[in-house]
């Protein structure tokens, strides 16, 4: 029959057109999946530090890919090379794409030159998670910290990223903060670039 074409079969995934990023799934689907991730990792480790590390590693892989995807799609293949540039990229673009809103705040640490903090009242991943008393300071935000570390590392800004609960006066639930501590070389390079 003339005019009827077969849908193109892409043999190589790199030939497929990139999605626009507008597709959505339900929050509960993601929450279920994330809870399985945490539960699986709980069976593989003996202590909280290991659990946080594994969640961070999972997030790291996500972050590296998110950077590639967003740089190509949103920024036209341009990647930030300055410190403040990459921080605001994480704080607005990455957060907006992954969580639907920009992060609540981005602050520079007062005590150390190399520390920055991204704060969020309630992280999406922590929405349905409750921490039992005996797990103490465990924070599933380690997954998000891993995403941030993945983005920064792949962009050439090695850093140590951790997630913390910061109790706020006047509020019942503590605020979530992602603490980013850049490596020495990043600061030196930043100073050189002026």
């Amino acid at each position: 029959m003339i005019g009827v074409g077969k849908m193109k079969q892409y043999s190589n995934i790199l030939d497929k057109p990139l999605t626009k990023g507008k597709q959505e799934v339900s929050l509960s689907a993601f929450a279920f999946l994330f809870s399985e991730l945490v539960q699986y990792n709980q069976t593989q480790v003996d202590n909280i530090g290991e659990l946080e590390r594994r969640l961070e590693d999972a997030g790291y892989a996500v972050g590296a890919r998110v950077l590639e995807l967003l740089c190509h799609r949103e920024k036209g293949n341009r990647r930030e090379t300055r410190l403040l540039g990459i921080l605001s990229f994480v704080h607005s673009t990455v957060w907006k794409v992954l969580f639907g809103k920009v992060a609540d705040s981005l602050e520079k640490g007062t005590e150390h030159e190399d520390e920055y903090m991204i704060s969020e009242k309630e992280l999406l991943v922590n929405k349905f998670i409750s921490i039992p008393k005996d797990m103490g300071t465990f924070n599933c935000g380690a997954f998000v910290a891993g995403i941030v570390r993945g983005v920064l590392d792949s962009a050439g800004f090695p850093a140590v990223v951790t997630a913390h609960f910061v109790p706020m006066e006047g509020q019942q639930r503590p605020r979530m903060t992602i603490l980013i501590k850049f490596a020495e070389e990043v600061l030196r390079r930043e100073a050189r670039l002026g």
Partner: protein, 186 residues
Amino acid sequence: MAPVAPRSGDAIFANIERVNAELFTLTYGAIVRQLLTDLEEVEEVNKQLDQMGYNIGIRLVDEFLAKSNVSRCVDFRETTDVIAKVGFKMFLGVTASVTNWDAEGTCCSIVLEDNPLVDFVELPDTCQGLYYCNILSGVIRGALDMVSMKTEVTWLRDVLRGDDVFELQVKLLKQVPEEYPYKDDE
């Protein structure tokens, strides 16, 4: 009060909170990668994904029944229809279709054309035996188990292995009658 009519998958999906599908896709990819590193055997990974899906399914069915207001399904046909039209739409945002019914009405195929789990995914040569979306088969099995239907769910076609759509075969093994858990005379 008149019973509330069942809402269509689109209506429910529009009313619930949603997240970006890419976060979902990348998180699932991270899970599969972790499993492959830990377990190393593709068969083990398949089994673990199925088990994780089962754990999700047994909880997912409660949310599904609560949010979708579907009435009790009369037979297995209706059940799979509801899963494909309402269930998949509600959670993954995609619609599936049901085909290939067998003569007794206990075995059918659910066909998915697009699947948010496999965006950006390519199977390397070392993992050719992997059913990447095996979590979905576990979810369906777990959900149906909680409503007293023992089923067997297998993959017939898989886009990552070269086919053009995803096809899941759902076979009803038996319907377990609901047991009243308390003895009245004790």
